[in-house]
Subunit: 105 residues, 2 copies
DNA sequence: TCTATTATTCGATTATCATCGAACAATAGA
DNA sequence: TCTATTGTTCGATGATAATCGAATAATAGA
């Protein structure tokens, strides 16, 4: 029987630099975080990607596992937000610098 | 007949953010750039890694192809340096922020 | 010309990753 | 209870990537 496992989020000091950079190195994931940064928290279905929902779910799992994104359940929706405090605490300035760079290209 | 191909380096505007982040997402490559940043330009053989030289050569190729590192030939050695100007021109503050974060963990 | 040094290239292998469709889980609402 | 919605999980597949040993290339120096 398949079980909906509970989501696990790394603590601030469990977040690794290479992990965060890997999370951001995929164009889809970078765009997800960019939208979360500019438009605030959003459900998975509100991003307007053309990829399948299983692929999208995979990308959100990577973002959660690397400590970039927090997901809370609200009804049938999964509402995502950037873990700004933890990221800033762990690697000061990194998120903003990457987000700024993302608007350049 | 195998030919030693000429190295090709991307111009500043050919450098992509996801490419740079991918280059930095590997621990070996991150350490290479960290050493280049703190100790200046170095030949491939001077980094003290325990991996094979073909693997190390592969990592340097990735760093070149993504625009992070410049390699010049000096005798039988390949001397590497960070492309600071191009990176700063393309994505201001990115390199320093990542390097600073690399010293934290 | 021969040898040592340094690094790249090739070919192969193993591992990881992105992607998808189908099935399942959890919730909301009729 | 039934159905729709939303997202996760599973299993599979094709594409990338990391790694290595061996062969090759380029140069320096004896």
């Amino acid at each position: 029987m398949q079980v909906m496992r509970q989501m696990i989020f790394p603590t601030s000091n469990q977040i690794t630099l290479t992990g965060v950079l890997y999370a951001f190195s995929d164009p889809t994931r970078l765009e997800i975080v960019r939208q979360l940064a500019t438009e605030g928290e959003k459900a998975c279905c509100e991003f307007g990607f053309k990829i399948s929902k299983s692929t999208l779910s995979h990308h959100f799992k990577v973002l959660r596992d690397t400590g970039v994104v927090y997901t809370r359940t609200e009804g049938t929706q999964s509402v995502n937000s950037i873990r700004r405090e933890e990221l800033e605490d762990r690697f000061p300035g990194l998120l903003d610098t990457i987000l700024k760079a993302a608007t350049i290209s």
